[in-house]
């Protein structure tokens, strides 16, 4: 009996245990126990507003004006600066030194607006007329950046391009200049690790980096601090100067690129040959990367109607320049859609008896905050505001309130500084149209105020 009882108790205990275990397991599978999760409360830090600093390109430079010093740079006069703010705050202006040019060089201007609620707009303009360089060059004074694309320049025969690197900060910058041409990327060590010291301007000849490149695209990256750069291109045909332009940066590579305010001038130069001529109105495209990119460029007029379309496949890593054929004189905007990121700019020329000029129209980033346009006085200065979006935009230009249809552009004759307030992202450019002096620049936004950022301290 004792053994049987022990056996029975053992079976019962075993059975109870198995049932208990099964209960635990099923409870775990079916019941969701309450969870406890600790929450970190990060501190949301709104960075203090920084001063707005806009750098101007400075006066036009000529290489080898004196034949005995073929690589020396000479300043050609001084540029006229125009700047104003939206709320009337005063702007400090300082200049950079230009040791390449010389100890007496006036150097580019740096405009500083102390941190506040206002915004600043500034630009410079310079007109030269020497035997070797003649034309009108206008450029916006822009905030610095670390990564810039310049779809401009040429190191063909008779074309001189300079890359001007302006460092307005207190930290030295190390700049890499990479050039891609019509045959692909140009492998050159000369443009790498260019040291631009704090508060100086350095001008680098593009011919030293990419000689004999007809359609270069310049990519400037800086480490150490942000700088501002321009590509100064001057052209001479035989003995006749054919124009000068200071080209600003294009929008960063993207699959949707807008070029506002492209003006095809009335006095188009006569071109007999079918071969490449850089006086033709053209669109220069470059797709950084390894794959060929399919690009559709739509040329629209001021009303937003489609005038012409260019559909091309841009080879990987090579720059392509495509003529804007059958486009009558007027003001247009070019909308580019690509299968991969591209950079683009358009160039048109004007011809006169003895000289000519050309203008580069860079791709523009959208502006959605109120901005100030202060174009230095020059012939035919016009502000063009273009709506790249799909909905109509209402824009207040100075005192006028206008509505811009999708794809359309609005022009406004400038008589002085004007504040533009858009209610939707728009692009804007300023055009100068003279009889033989043309120039253009894209209006860029100030560096965005840093967004508040959540910081957790551990």
């Amino acid at each position: 009996m004792n053994r049987q009882m022990r056996f029975g108790i053992r079976m019962a205990a075993g059975g109870v245990t198995v049932v208990g275990l099964a209960a635990v397991v099923s409870a775990a599978l079916l019941v969701e126990p309450p969870s406890y999760r600790a929450i970190a409360d990060p501190v949301s830090v709104t960075p203090e507003a920084a001063d707005q600093v806009r750098v101007c390109p400075g006066s036009l430079l000529e290489v080898g004006q004196d034949a005995s010093a073929a690589t020396a740079l000479t300043e050609l006069g001084t540029a006229t600066i125009a700047s104003s703010t939206s709320d009337g705050e005063s702007i400090e202006d300082t200049s950079l030194t230009a040791p390449d040019v010389g100890p007496d060089a006036s150097g580019p201007t740096v405009l500083t607006l102390p941190a506040g609620t206002g915004t600043m707009g500034a630009s410079q303009i310079q007109s030269v007329g020497t035997d070797t360089i003649a034309g009108l060059a206008a450029a916006e004074c822009q905030e610095s950046s670390s990564d810039m694309w310049f779809v401009a320049g040429s190191t063909d025969v008779g074309r001189t391009s300079l890359v001007m690197l302006n460092n307005p900060t207190g930290v030295d910058a190390t700049v890499d200049i990479e050039v891609a041409g019509e045959n692909g990327a140009v492998d050159s060590q000369t443009g790498l690790d260019v040291l631009v010291e704090a508060g100086t301007q350095k001008a680098v000849s593009l011919a030293g980096i990419a000689p004999n490149t007809v359609t270069p695209v310049v990519h400037v990256t800086s480490t150490g601090t942000d700088i501002q750069a321009w590509v100064q291109q001057s052209s001479i045909r035989g003995l006749v100067p054919a124009g000068v332009e200071v080209a600003g940066r294009s929008a960063a590579p993207s699959e949707n690129v807008t070029i506002p305010g492209v003006q095809v001038y009335k006095g188009q130069p006569e071109i007999d040959t079918q071969e490449y001529d850089d006086r033709r109105p053209s669109l220069r495209l470059y797709a950084p990367g390894d794959t060929a990119t399919h690009v559709t460029a739509t040329v629209r007029d001021e009303a937003g109607d489609e005038v012409s379309t260019i559909v091309v496949d841009v080879a990987a890593g090579a720059v392509g320049e495509y003529p804007l054929a059958d486009v009558k004189p007027g003001r247009y905007s070019i909308q580019i859609e690509a299968s991969g990121p591209v950079v683009a700019a358009a160039r048109t020329s004007v011809a006169a008896d003895k000289s000519g000029d050309f203008a580069w129209f860079a791709a523009a980033d959208t502006l959605d905050a109120p901005f100030v346009v202060d174009a230095a006085s020059g012939p035919g200065r016009t502000l063009v505001v273009h709506n790249p979006g799909t909905d109509a935009a209402t824009v207040t230009i100075g005192d006028d309130e206008v509505t811009i249809d999708p794809g359309a552009s609005k022009t406004h004759q400038l008589k002085g500084p004007v504040t533009v307030t858009p209610d939707a992202p728009v692009t804007a450019a300023v055009n100068y149209t003279g009889s033989s002096a043309v120039s253009a620049y894209v209006v860029t936004a100030p560096k965005p105020a840093s967004e508040p950022i959540d910081v957790t301290v551990r």
Binding site: R10, M11, A13, G14, T17, V18, G20, L21, V24, V25, A28, L29, P33, P34, S35, Y36, R37, A38, I39, A40, P42, V43, V45, T46, P47, E48, A49, A50, D51, A115, S144, S146, T169, G170, V171, A198, T223, G224, T225, D226, K447, A449, S450, E451, P452, I453, D454, V455, T456, V457, R458
Partner: protein
């Protein structure tokens, strides 16, 4: 003149004993002339009995009196003694004399006129043939030595005549001597009162004699003579009284100068003796030791009065007692004889461990080889990094400074409790004191053999069969959660897995052995330090053990003491002050994200999804995933099935216990996955369930092994099935590290760029602000002081966010501005914080777009900052330094009461546990006598009978049978001192044994 005997009978409460005593008094051949009864705090029945028996005088009192005190009360009521022939017979309620006792005692006085005290032979109340006392003496140093405590009466002491002292029960004393000497010392209780009286009587020049023919039966009530009950409280009281008496007599008998010295040494001596008690595994007597020392030191025994009493009656010098005292050598010889008497001939003790012969050593060796092959790339490494591994501080001194409550130099630095894990790391680092980080490398390489070793030893508690022990070792080593912890770099989990079987093996026998309980307490503290999430489950198991140990709960009660001392500061700061009780369960060490896991994975004993690596392996090998999703649960189920079968076999009790452990572990694992308290960056991550799964594995493997053991020889099939199942489940996990899926790599021990460590070598307080972009576009800022992050400086107070590392938000503002284009002036802030370097952690390619955007923003802003110079890109990120030199922040040196208190408590607990855990000869003997396995179906499993020892050498020792030398000196005329020299006996015995064998 006529002799006149007055019997003084002292009674308390025991009526039955008193009745027999009074009957014996009535039955005396030479009756006492008067009987005076003293009843102190007596019950009514005692008083009634006295009244019935018509005692000549009855003195009652309500106080609790000692024997001496009661006798004094009684003696006071008597008239003055007429002369030398008046005697007092001292009896307690449980001293029943034989009829001729008084006659024989008086006869002794006739033959020895100079005798003052005569004592009878004391025998057991119930058994006449057992001697309970016959005379006492002291050693030269003063320790009481009774000649007999419990021996068979074979007449061996019947020839004793003069002794130094006799015990108080049944003592016959001349009344004049009683008056001269002043009676018993009232401070001495039932212990040593007779001894002290007899010594003082001898110091007046009188003699103390024995009358071995007079027999008095004693029961050990505790009135006259030490109480003999075996109850715990009585044992404590006896120890305390004995020690009090010894100390009191030491102070009273010593010359004045020595008395002062002895008095000063009382308490220090008590401390030293307590340490000895700890080593002898008798910690329950420590209280008695201290109480006795305190009582005597603060005058409770009235030493001065006793000295005065002694000096008043003393007539001869102490040297007259010298011959009667026992030398130390003699005492040692007596003790040796006693011990040898106690050795059983032909004992039953536990069998051999069979570590080498049973294959355990081979398993360890195999594990060593496998571990070496798997981790061969770590062998030349000096430090390991990756996963949750960081280097240890370079200096052993720094390691030990990082424990307890004090300055924590992590982050901004604060005063707080360190993790208990820092103690484990300090211990490990001290083992390789030349380069503490090597300890972790060695741990990784030797992890598999260690796990096999501890698993094997734990299995010795469950089974005696080598095959099943080997199964347990293999299964414990190939635990998937252990292998995953090794691959992922979780040092705390690896150590916990290695130590858990040792905790099991010590804990199951804790109730029967102080050494095991102390070892279990230390191991519990270490395991809990490595895995705080196991503490609730372990405490539940402790409570169960407490209940199961019933009467012997004292040892089990001690077990959590070091744990409490170790966790005290952290529990205080995190729980009591901060109220964040869940944060106490956080894993220690470097915060590491716990991967997602479902309840099904936990059921399979896996701490992450992927079936322990089988899913990846299956897809690599091209197997259908159906094989994996069904196969792995089936394999684990097989092991569980073997364990479940054991529930229905004999020996099921331990199976139930082991399954309870597994269930507790599983519940802990499930709860762990729902508690997220540790912050990795800005997100809270759950407690890693792997350590709880180690507990589950312990229960599972233990149940399987005990089931196989219950099946005895037929269990080899389930054992092999279980072993193969475990090996198959663990196969991909084993190969994780060699195939490169593990996160652990060898490193050079730097967590910050070399530029920073070089600068910090001169100024250790320099700070580096490390900015890590998070996946949601937020950033995490950490300040690292000195030359890098170290594992022993990690603190759960910071990692669980309990301690605000940045109270007024200064650091957050600084960081937020420094990663943005901002007009903030940084130099003064950086100077104030003592930060010279800014490190931007690299963003992996798999990071989200927001993280990359924040990283780009930060890099641009930091580059453009003219107060910072870009030093360059290092493998831990991009480094900037301030343009101006910055002074580092000195570490705070806050020593508060908390630091000292917590450290003192920790050291005290650890020392106590270590002392009790040290094995002594007697504790090893006791352990040998007990079975090694626990709870098996046969209670004496594994016990073997030792051969009968050879007695030749024992009996041939002439010393063994010789009388002590002092007996030659003291002898009565006419009685020869006994002197035997064993001559021909050894050969006879040997012949007889050989005959018996043939």
């Amino acid at each position: 003149m006529d002799t006149r005997v007055t019997a003084l009978v002292v009674a308390h409460r025991d009526v039955e004993h008193l009745r027999r005593t009074l009957d014996a008094l009535d039955a005396q051949t030479r009756r006492a002339d008067a009987v005076v009864a003293i009843a102190f705090d007596a019950s009514d029945e005692v008083r009634q009995l006295f009244e019935e028996r018509h005692v000549d005088r009855l003195v009652t009192t309500r106080e609790q009196l000692t024997f001496g005190g009661a006798l004094a009360e009684g003696e006071r009521t008597l008239d003055d003694p007429r002369g030398d022939d008046d005697f007092l017979w001292l009896l307690a309620q449980d001293n029943a004399p034989r009829e001729d006792a008084l006659g024989l005692l008086l006869a002794r006085f006739e033959t020895a006129p100079s005798a003052a005290v005569a004592g009878p032979k004391l025998v057991d109340w119930n058994d006449d043939s057992r001697l309970r006392g016959i005379g006492e003496t002291v050693t030269t140093r003063g320790t009481t030595v009774p000649f007999v405590e419990d021996q068979l009466d074979q007449g061996q002491y019947d020839t004793l005549s003069d002794v130094l002292a006799v015990g108080s029960p049944g003592m016959l004393v001349r009344r004049t001597v009683w008056r001269d000497v002043g009676g018993f010392d009232p401070a001495l209780g039932p212990i040593d009162d007779g001894l002290d009286f007899c010594i003082r009587a001898r110091l007046t020049g009188k003699r103390v004699v024995l009358a071995p023919g007079a027999v008095v039966a004693v029961s050990g009530d505790g009135i006259a003579g030490a109480p003999r009950s075996r109850r715990w409280r009585v044992k404590q009281r006896r120890a305390r009284l004995a020690r009090t008496a010894e100390l009191h007599r030491r102070l009273v008998y010593a010359p004045r100068v020595w008395m002062v010295l002895h008095w000063l040494l009382l308490v220090p001596l008590a401390i030293v003796r307590s340490v000895g008690l700890l080593i002898r595994k008798q910690p329950e007597l420590i209280a008695a030791e201290f109480r006795a020392a305190a009582w005597v030191a603060f005058g409770g025994t009235r030493v001065v009065t006793a000295r005065r009493r002694l000096a008043a009656a003393k007539e001869v010098g102490w040297s007259s007692l010298a011959n009667l005292k026992m030398s130390g050598r003699e005492l040692a010889r007596r003790k040796r004889l006693e011990r040898e008497d106690g050795v059983p001939i032909g004992s039953v003790e536990r069998g051999d461990l069979r570590f080498f012969t049973g294959g355990g050593a081979w398993i360890i060796l195999a594990a060593l080889v496998v571990g070496g092959i798997l981790f061969v790339k770590f062998v030349p490494a000096s430090t390991l990094a990756g996963g949750g591994l960081l280097p240890l501080s370079g200096d052993v001194r720094e390691l030990w400074q990082n424990i307890g409550y004090g300055w924590r130099s992590v982050g901004d630095g604060f005063v707080g409790a360190a993790d208990p894990f820092a103690v484990v790391l300090a211990l490990m680092g001290t083992l390789t004191f030349w380069h503490p980080s090597s300890a972790i490398v060695i741990l990784w390489i030797l992890a598999l053999p260690f796990a096999a070793l501890t698993g094997w030893f734990a299995a010795t508690r469950l089974t005696e069969r080598s095959g099943y022990r080997n199964l347990a070792a293999i299964a414990w080593t190939l635990s998937p959660t252990f292998l995953i912890a090794l691959a992922e770099g979780r040092p705390a989990a690896v150590i916990a897995h290695i130590l858990l079987p040792l905790l099991f093996s010590a804990g199951v026998v804790a109730s029967r052995s102080w050494g095991a309980a102390a070892a279990a307490s230390l191991l519990l503290a270490l395991v809990a330090a490595c895995a705080p999430s196991l503490v609730p489950a372990l405490l539940v198991l402790w409570l169960v053990a407490l209940v199961a140990s019933r009467a012997r709960f004292g040892r089990v009660l001690f077990i959590p003491a070091p744990l409490i001392a170790l966790f005290g500061p952290l529990v205080w700061q995190q729980g009591v002050e901060g109220g964040r009780w869940f944060a106490l369960l956080a894993d220690p060490g470097k915060p590491l994200a716990s991967p997602d896991v479902t309840v099904t994975d936990l059921l399979l004993g896996l701490p992450q999804s992927g079936y322990g690596g089988w899913q990846e392996t299956a897809s690599d090998l091209g197997l259908a995933s159906l094989w994996v999703t069904n196969g792995v649960p089936v394999l684990v189920g097989l092991v569980a099935l073997v364990g479940l079968v054991g529930l229905f076999l004999p020996g099921a009790r331990r199976g139930i216990g082991l399954w309870a452990i597994a269930a507790l572990g599983f519940a802990t694992a499930v709860v762990d996955t729902h508690i997220a308290v540790t912050f990795v960056g800005a997100e809270a991550t759950t407690v890693w369930p792997g350590t709880a799964l180690s507990l589950v594995w312990l229960g599972l493997v233990g149940a399987a092994v005990s089931a196989c053991d219950s099946l005895r020889t037929r269990g080899w099939i389930p054992a092999i099935v279980a072993g193969v199942a475990v090996a198959v489940v663990a196969a991909p996990a084993v190969l994780m590290v060699p195939l490169g899926h593990g996160a652990v790599t060898s490193s050079d021990g730097r967590t910050l760029p070399a530029y920073v460590t070089a600068a910090a070598a001169d100024e250790p307080g320099l700070g580096t602000l490390r900015i890590t972009p998070g996946d949601d576009g937020a950033i995490v800022a950490t300040v690292i002081r000195g030359d890098g992050e170290f594992l022993d400086r990690q603190s759960t107070l910071v990692n669980t966010g309990s301690l605000l590392a940045d109270e007024n938000g200064d650091l957050a503002q600084l960081t937020g501005n420094i990663v943005s284009v901002s007009g903030h002036a940084f130099a003064p802030d950086l100077q104030k914080q003592g930060i010279e370097f800014v490190l931007l952690a690299p963003t992996p390619d798999s990071a989200s777009d927001e993280a990359k955007a924040v990283a780009a923003r930060a890099e641009t802003a930091l580059d453009a900052n003219d107060e910072l110079e870009n030093v360059g890109v290092t493998d831990v990120g991009t480094l900037w330094r301030t343009a101006d030199a910055v002074d580092g922040r000195e570490p705070g040196d806050v020593r508060s009461a908390g630091t000292v208190l917590s450290l003192a408590a920790l050291i005290l607990m650890t020392l106590i546990a270590l002392l009790v855990a040290i094995p002594t000869t007697s504790s090893r003997e006791a352990a040998r006598m007990s079975p090694r396995t626990v709870g098996s179906r046969y209670a004496r499993e594994g016990m073997v009978v030792r051969d009968v020892p050879d007695d030749h050498g024992f009996l041939a020792d002439p010393d063994a049978e010789a009388e002590p030398e002092w007996a030659d000196v003291v002898s009565l005329p006419g009685v020869d001192p006994v002197s035997e020299v064993p001559s021909s006996e050894p050969e006879d015995t040997a012949d007889r044994e050989e005959d018996a064998r043939e």
